[in-house]
Amino acid sequence: MANTKEVRKQIASIKSTQKITSAMEMVAASKMKKTQDTMLEGRPYSLKIKDVISHVALANSEYPHPFYEERAPKKACFIVVSSDKGLCGGLNINLFKQVISKSAELNQQEIGSCFALIGTKASSFFKSVGGEVIAVAEKLGDKPNPDDLIGLTKVVLDMHKNNDIDQAYLCSNSFVNTMTQQPNVVQLIPLAPEEQSEEAPSQWDYIYEPEAKELLDGLLTRYIESLVYQAVIENNACEQAAKMIAMKNATDNAGDLIKELELLYNNVRQAAITQELSEIVGGASAV
């Protein structure tokens, strides 16, 4: 049977682990608030640019943009948004599972895959399983700057322009509430045309200053960038929420373990006392 000293040591070590996890839980809770605020602050821009894009799609434009063009797909690019740090439950793993299954599905249709990765977790995952990685953006922090994502998006869009890829997917977690995060794989390119069933085919077009091509190129690039940025800040909020839950569970588990060990400790102590007593009694009767 274990001796009391050992059990006490174990209890002490679990208690210090519990302190760490509960501190991490509180850190995640306070960060969650901030990341959620950032997520909400970014929303007006993405809503407005979406409005503008849907107006543009309705306009009878003189220049059909390549992002709207459906090509026979030969290769797809996945932009995978993950967290930089672990300890956030199944958040990243559930997302990767969806990405891999989608990529395997495309593979069966003989469509190749390549990956643009955001976050350390994604790059280390694809490092171990293989896959053609075309761009990586890591360590963006809690308040990512839109500028940090320009490079990655440009690599993907340039590949599309050069016909190296025909489709692009954005893979990220969407924030449902604190308890639930939903992994999503959304098609970015070709842009799905808006439903315009009820409206009569429009005959109007914008006045473009300076040129339609130049403007639409810029605007649609900005649109894709804003979608990626929005996905990153939303994923951040998801990460903190998932981390908070994971750490809360860990703290609770540590509490349960400590309870069990304390019970064991009392048993061991009692057994030792009983044994000592019986030895004394035995000794006394022998004398």
């Binding site: 602050e41 970014g42 007006p44 821009y45 407005k48 640019i49 503008v52 107006h55 543009v56 306009a59 439950g89 199944g90 793993i93 559930n94 990767f96 599972k97 891999i100 990529s103 395997a104 593979n107 643009a116 790059s123 995952f125 694809f126 490092k127 171990s128 399983v129 293989g130 896959g131 990685v133 075309i134 761009a135 990586v136 953006a137 890591e138 839109p146 500028d147 320009i150 490079g151 990655l152 440009k154 690599v155 109007w204 077009d205 914008y206 006045i207 473009y208 200053e209 300076p210 130049e214 403007l215 810029g218 605007l219 900005r222 804003s226 940025y229 569970n249 609770d252 588990n253 349960d256």
Partner: protein
């Protein structure tokens, strides 16, 4: 009085939203004045002020570039937060590619689907076990 709705947003925040009788902005081709009922217009914005007039009130915002969309009853200003230039974008793109190359030096580029799904299945199983353990208690 006739007014037009105006929204000014940047990628990190909503800057202004309201009604205006007249909006002035600096387009890439020159100064623009937009009154209610303006014909649809899409233009780039140069760095400069965006002035929003509502009756005798006037508010001014600085915009470092971006896009301006005009619908007859709506003006949307999509402001960039940072200065953008083609060369800057290019260097960012090169950086992103370099990181990818470093991360995956001498790696084969085909995905090992079996390995990937095995790895994920293991991680999921681990999580499920933890959840089951918790439910038992």
């Amino acid at each position: 009085m006739n007014t037009i709705k105006i929204n000014i947003v940047s990628s990190s925040e909503e800057i202004y939203s309201g009604e205006a009788t007249m909006v002035f902005a600096t387009g890439t081709l020159g100064e623009l004045g937009i009154a209610p009922g303006h014909t649809p217009l899409l233009t780039g914005l140069a760095a400069g002020p965006v002035r929003v007039q509502n009756g005798s009130d006037e508010e001014t915002f600085f915009c470092s570039g971006g896009f301006l969309e005009v619908q007859p009853d709506l003006v949307t200003v999509l402001s960039d937060t940072a200065e953008r230039a083609e060369s800057l974008d290019e260097s960012e793109a090169i950086k992103a590619k370099e990181v990818a190359e470093q991360e995956l030096a001498n790696k084969d580029t085909t995905i090992d689907y079996a390995k990937a799904s095995a790895q994920l299945a293991e991680a999921v199983a681990r999580l499920k076990t933890i959840q089951k353990l918790r439910k038992k208690q």
